[in-house]
């Protein structure tokens, strides 16, 4: 009754059929055709990949983008994007283009160092660049073109006082003329940055 190995052609064919049929069935099962809404979602995901291939986060004395930098770092980590933190120092027309502006440069260094810290925290590679320009908006547009950026990220407008408009002329120009997508992060309760919080609380009381 008992015996050693008994290999037959029929047995081999059945064995291979079992393994093949089970494998093919399960493969077919886990690959269903996407539904209409899934196709929409897939398209949106592809858009995102296109959107975040190369990111530029813009800083300037007028634009505070530190919270956008954190967002950019998170995006870059997930999508393995190229990330550039760009600080633009606007040189007034009353000064020569190569005029030294140590105070502004010191502030820029702090902003870019903070950006690097954020990038390190998320484990993404970040290039930083500080440039002098006559106009922030034109400089950003030029750099975006050179870098073939997919997305420019900007923070809120920051000035000495709140003018009633949440976006400055610079931000409006960038969003109007950029060849790529622009993401503008205006912080909640718009203009909060520009409003004296204590005075507001007093007024609310």
């Amino acid at each position: 009754m008992t015996g050693q190995i008994h290999v037959t052609v029929a047995g081999m064919i059945i064995a291979l059929f079992i393994a093949g049929a089970i494998g093919a069935t399960l493969w077919w099962m886990v690959h269903p055709a996407p539904s209409y809404v899934q196709k929409l979602a897939q398209r949106a995901e592809h858009e995102l990949e296109r959107l975040v291939g190369s990111l530029i986060v813009v800083f300037s004395p007028e634009i505070d983008s530190s919270h956008m930098m954190a967002l950019a770092a998170k995006l870059a980590r997930g999508e393995k994007s190229h990330l550039l933190a760009l600080y633009v120092i606007e040189v007034p027309f009353t000064l020569p283009p190569n005029a030294a502006m140590p105070h502004e440069e010191r502030i820029a260094m702090d902003a870019l160092a903070a950006a690097e810290t954020i990038a390190n925290k998320y484990g993404v590679n970040l290039r930083t660049e500080m440039i002098h320009a006559r106009q922030t908006s034109q400089a950003v547009l030029d750099i975006a073109r050179q870098e073939k950026a997919h997305l420019i990220m900007l923070g809120s407008f920051r000035e000495g006082k709140y003018t009633g408009a949440p976006l400055s002329h610079t931000i409006e120009t960038i969003s109007a003329y950029a060849k790529c997508d622009v993401l503008i992060g205006v912080e909640g309760k718009h203009g909060t940055l520009l409003v004296d919080e204590q005075a507001l609380q007093v007024a609310e009381r």
Partner: protein, 550 residues
């Protein structure tokens, strides 16, 4: 209604749709996949050389059942399964009977699989064997059932991920066993010889067929999880068809391998199959009372090369899968009872939720007690010699696991019969609901101005499962009495409950199924089907209006 109230109403908690294709398959597989671990030995013991034919017959009926469940679950993706389909297609009283039969199956599920789980463990721990240690076996099974009840009351349940891992391991393991078995030990001449020399009597074959159906019970689980499945109308047909094919391939392969395999006697192999000091064919060894509860593990140990490894882990993997299946009986019974209670087919007692654990504790405990009664009834002949004599006199001396198998087959055959009728009724009376999956081979016809398709497979399946029900009644002494007794007791209880509540006794309550269907499709995220359904309704109304004007 105030805005806040509306917001609160909208935020009512719903089951999260997190089950993906593999998860849905795993829910079904952890229930049906365990059946072959129990069914193989029982069928080999009953149908001998025609076990493969018994599995083939039951398998063909199972394909029809699977197709019916697939169509219905994809059309009505709600947690309720067969009971809901019958309620919707045939009305309250038949919904109750089908649900009550499913409840019998779930309670048997608890006991049968806990019993078999201990049998498989006994392959590694001989102290758990039924024959020399019936008391230990009984106590361990009882403790397992009580433990599962407790876990379900406090709300701990195995996760979809755990089910998925165990199912994946088991699919790979069973495929490997069959691959090595067929490749290195299958002898077609031996298969033909066994079929010729050990062909059973007609009675034995009917008995084998009625037991073979238990290897295919549990498709219900995929329907049960429909409400938690992503895109159920698209995913469930795939997972159901995959499950049907996988289980069919396993059942037919195991039965043919058991009949035509030459046991390995090389290095690492167990002793040759022997009974009473004589060599016996492998199939007879697997089907005897000692091994029929753990046949897959014993067969695996005789597979060349792979058997040595399989002998170590198959008993453990099998027992885990069987325990999951037993657990699915505990929560499945409470879930069905809860659903039946919400549609006023059972008293509101079954809706009671535990104050602290937020689980339907009353249902869980009630049906666990039923399972314990069934366990006592099954274990009695091995525990007490007087009881054994009574069983021998009245029930042909069936052993405990066969008794449980009888009832399991009865409950499954009854509920499946109703599901086939419900399928036909819903095809005729609800042709407007979009069917993403439709069983092939239909006869087109017109009923009340609507084009309907009469399912031929539904009729074939009904005849098939009806014949298995008849085989069960003819061949199983206990099943013949205990099964119908369960149904009659339940029906009496149902009639009393409906009478006391002032609800229609023989007729159904009013249901607005059209509104319900829109809600079901919206809740399941099948928005395209929802649009199709509302369009179908609009078109139907327009046609009727035109007919009236003419």
């Amino acid at each position: 209604m105030s805005l806040e109230a509306r917001v609160v109403e909208k935020r009512k908690p719903q089951l999260r749709r997190a089950v993906k294709p593999w998860g849905s398959f795993a829910w079904g597989y952890s229930d049906v996949g365990a059946d072959i671990f129990v069914g193989l030995g029982l069928v080999l013991g009953a149908a001998a050389g025609a076990s493969n034919i018994a599995f083939l017959f039951a398998g063909l009926v199972y394909v029809c059942i699977g197709l019916a469940y697939t169509e219905l679950a994809a059309t009505y993706p709600v947690a309720g399964g067969g009971q809901y389909f019958v309620l919707r297609g045939l009305g309250d009283i038949f919904g109750f009977i089908a649900g009550w039969a499913v409840l019998l199956d779930f309670t048997i599920d608890i006991t049968l699989f806990a019993w078999s789980c201990v049998d498989y463990l006994s392959q590694l721990v001989p102290q758990l064997l039924t024959v020399p240690h019936p008391v230990t076996h009984f106590v361990v099974v009882l403790l397992l059932i009580c433990g599962l009840c407790l876990l379900n009351v406090i709300g701990i349940r195995e996760s979809t991920a755990f089910n998925g891992i165990v199912s994946g391991l088991d699919v790979v393991s069973e495929t490997a066993i069959l691959f090595f078995g067929f490749f290195f030990a299958f002898n077609p001449q031996l298969l033909i010889h066994t079929m010729q020399t050990s062909w059973p009597t007609t009675f034995q074959l009917m008995n084998g067929v009625s037991l073979a159906i238990i290897s295919f019970v549990g498709l219900e689980s995929i329907s049960q999880a429909a409400q938690e499945t992503q895109r159920p109308a698209s995913i469930i047909p795939r997972t159901s068809i995959s499950l049907i094919l996988t289980i069919l391939i396993f059942a037919l392969s195991y039965s043919n391998l058991a009949l035509g395999m030459q046991p390995w006697s090389g290095h690492g192999a167990p002793p040759a199959p022997m009974m009473h000091g004589h060599n016996v064919p492998l199939w007879a060894y697997l089907g005897n009372g000692e091994n029929n509860g753990k046949a897959v593990a014993v067969l695996a140990s005789y597979v060349p090369f792979y058997g040595a490894l399989a002998a170590l882990y198959v008993p453990l993997l099998g027992s885990i899968l069987l325990l999951i299946s037993s657990n699915s009986g505990v929560f499945g019974s409470s879930r069905i009872a809860y659903a039946m209670s919400t549609t006023q087919l059972l008293p509101s007692f079954f809706q009671r939720v535990h104050g602290r654990f937020r689980t339907p504790a009353a249902s869980i405990i009630a049906f666990t007690l039923v399972a314990i009664v069934e366990l006592i009834f099954a274990a009695l002949p091995s525990l007490n010699t007087h009881a054994a004599m009574i069983y021998r006199k009245f029930f042909h001396g069936e052993d405990g696991i066969t008794f449980l198998g009888d009832l399991y087959a009865f409950g499954a055959a009854t509920s499946y019969s109703f599901v086939f009728i419900a399928l036909i009724a819903l095809r005729l009376y609800d042709p407007l609901s979009p069917r993403k999956f439709k069983i092939p081979f239909n006869i087109p016809m017109q009923i009340r101005g609507e084009r309907v398709e009469f399912p031929i497979v539904g009729v074939i399946g009904f005849i098939g499962i009806g014949s298995i029900l008849v085989f069960t009644m003819i061949t199983h002494e206990i099943g013949r009495f205990a099964g119908p007794a369960w149904l009659i007791c339940g029906l009496i209880g149902y009639l009393i409950y409906r009478y006391r509540k002032g609800l229609p006794i023989w007729r159904s309550q009013r249901h607005n199924w059209r509104v319900a269907q829109v809600d079901i499709l919206r809740a399941s995220g099948e928005l395209e089907l929802m649009d199709e359904y509302t369009n179908n309704l609009r078109e139907s109304e327009r046609r009727r209006e035109e007919a009236r004007q003419r």
